[in-house]
Amino acid sequence: MSPIKTMVAGTFGAALLALPVTLPAAADETAPANLANACAGCHGTDGISPGPTPSINEISEEDMIALLTAFKNDEAAVTMMNRIAKGYTDAEIAAIAAYFASMM
């Protein structure tokens, strides 16, 4: 710990760091596997959950798009998926749905 805790313009620095990123408009597309694999952290590898979290491996492409879109628009009562779904564009939601559907 330096003698004086903050010598830089702490408030301004923190404010800049806190600025989050906006989604790239039509930048390079993220690989569907990179999008979908992150889901496994809660829903299990390939969407197959061994515990109380719902499995997502047997949801049709259409249903998954509808679900994620409803979560994103706060049109469904959930604990976390509304916060998660807002992080994806409609195109990415479609890519995730197609990825899981392709494994059925």
Binding site: P3, I4, T6, T11
Partner: protein
């Protein structure tokens, strides 16, 4: 009223370099930020800190708007004689926060 905390070693040998820690709880509003209603939060900081050791100034600092909330300051001085250290923080609003610590030098 700000709350102040000070740590001074209760005893020291003559000539020893001693570490003194100070912490004052204060918002240190820099005058550049807006509140949730979009109004400027006026500047309100502690602008000066002084320490006297048996009446002799051993540390002083002018503080400006870049000092963080709840300033935590450590400094060093030489233990010269038994006596007391008087700490003063000067607030923009005219208040002076004070603290006194005793030290026995052998």
């Amino acid at each position: 009223m700000a709350e102040v905390r000070v740590a001074v070693p209760p005893t020291a040998r003559k000539g020893e370099v001693i570490e003194i820690k100070t912490l004052v709880s204060h918002p240190m509003d820099n005058g550049f930020l807006l509140d949730y209603g979009g109004r400027m939060i006026p500047r309100w900081i502690i602008n000066r800190f002084e320490v006297e050791y048996n009446g002799e100034m051993v540390f002083s600092a002018d503080w400006h708007v870049s000092i963080s909330t709840n300033p935590y300051l450590i400094f060093y001085t030489v233990a010269t004689e038994t006596g007391q250290l008087d700490f003063k923080w000067y607030d923009d609003n005219g208040e002076i926060y004070t603290h006194t610590a005793e030290i026995t030098v052998t």
